[in-house]
Symmetry: C2
Subunit: 199 residues, 2 copies
DNA sequence: ACCTGAACACCGTTCAAGT
DNA sequence: ACCTGAACACCGTTCAAGT
């Protein structure tokens, strides 16, 4: 078997993977195209054969992050079929865990680093697919009388916003020390969701 | 009257102001120390006489943003004394408006650009002061029976998280086009808050 | 104390060239 | 089609020097 054809089989995905690793180790501030190239074992200009610019690589990393988040949400939700309340609560917990375990990928997905997300069709597709998943759970909760009757998309943004906001404030260090001594983020999110839920 | 002593009276504040202006015109990605210096009319190394590094200038801009947000919230709240429900709703509207009118300052305040916020005492002070203001309004609402009885800090994080999350998703372009055709961000936030409020 | 200008390491992007 | 290496403009930071 030949060790390596010339240099790479699938540089594009190798670059995405290298990017995720740098993100995990050095954070958003440490992510540069040149480092990504080096970690993938190619010259600094090689990435331009696969991505027109840095934003494009960031879009690919974000898209990959959304794919993973979607898969985890899907798994959590389908493990509680016929129990919408558990779907909602476990989905929220999954969201919190994803943010905690992939902090910097989460930041890149949601913190305005990607500037023109509309320009990246696969990013738009998976993010709207994820939103639809949320809407479905909300509708199931409404049908079960667990959430109030209201347009499902409006309710979905309210609930998702709730969870997302608490997670974001936590990642920013904006949640007071005294509160964090008593409750972790999952507890706080559960409490907040409890305030939205009927009985 | 002498036109200029040598070059500047208050370069430190001039740099913060220049930073805010660049942020408004070119966004977070366009903010560089060298541009800030140029806009303030000094050499690229002059800022180092006032800020040890770029993070420090970003901290100062964020602190300034929090000061402004605090002042606007204060004004909104004290215009409805003895009416906690109006304080809550008008406070939330003020928050939304601040984010819409100072999008990139808001992003810098809350989007992880500032990496070690704990290292900047005046930033920590104004952000915790702002949180205390939120807690006070929440407590007033609880005393008036508008919000459920629960630890006020927990309730405050839930409500603030709700508002913050919806605003953040909106700035990220994550709120579906079809929903935005029917409701603007203030409407959505009002709806969501309504789901938290008793009657 | 406050500022300048040269210098260094690093970055994103382009381009001619090689296979 | 995929990759390299030189080149360019820009960036953050340091430092010796000037007032």
């Amino acid at each position: 078997m030949p060790s390596k054809k010339y240099h790479h089989g699938d540089l594009k995905n190798a670059l995405i993977k290298a990017g995720v690793e740098i993100l995990a180790k050095e954070g958003v501030g440490g992510l540069s195209l040149r480092k990504v190239a080096q970690r993938a074992g190619v010259s600094h200009s090689a990435p331009y054969a696969h991505f027109p610019d840095k934003q494009s690589l960031i879009a690919a990393i974000s898209t990959e992050g959304f794919n993973q988040l979607y898969a985890e949400l899907e798994a959590a939700i389908s493990s509680h079929s016929k129990n919408p309340k558990k779907q909602l609560i476990d989905g929220a917990k999954t969201y919190v865990r994803f943010a905690e375990e992939n902090t910097d990928t989460f930041k890149i997905m949601f913190s305005g680093v990607l500037e023109k997300e509309k320009d990246y069709p696969s990013f738009v597709e998976i993010s709207s697919k994820t939103f639809k998943l949320v809407v479905e759970v909300i509708q199931a909760c409404q049908n079960a009388g667990i959430l109030p009757t209201a347009p499902a998309d409006l309710m979905a943004v309210s609930v998702w916003g709730q969870v997302h906001g608490i997670v974001s404030l936590a990642l920013e260090g904006q949640i007071s020390h005294t509160l964090l001594e008593k409750k972790n983020i999952e507890n706080i999110v559960s409490f907040a969701l409890g305030e939205m839920i009927n009985s």
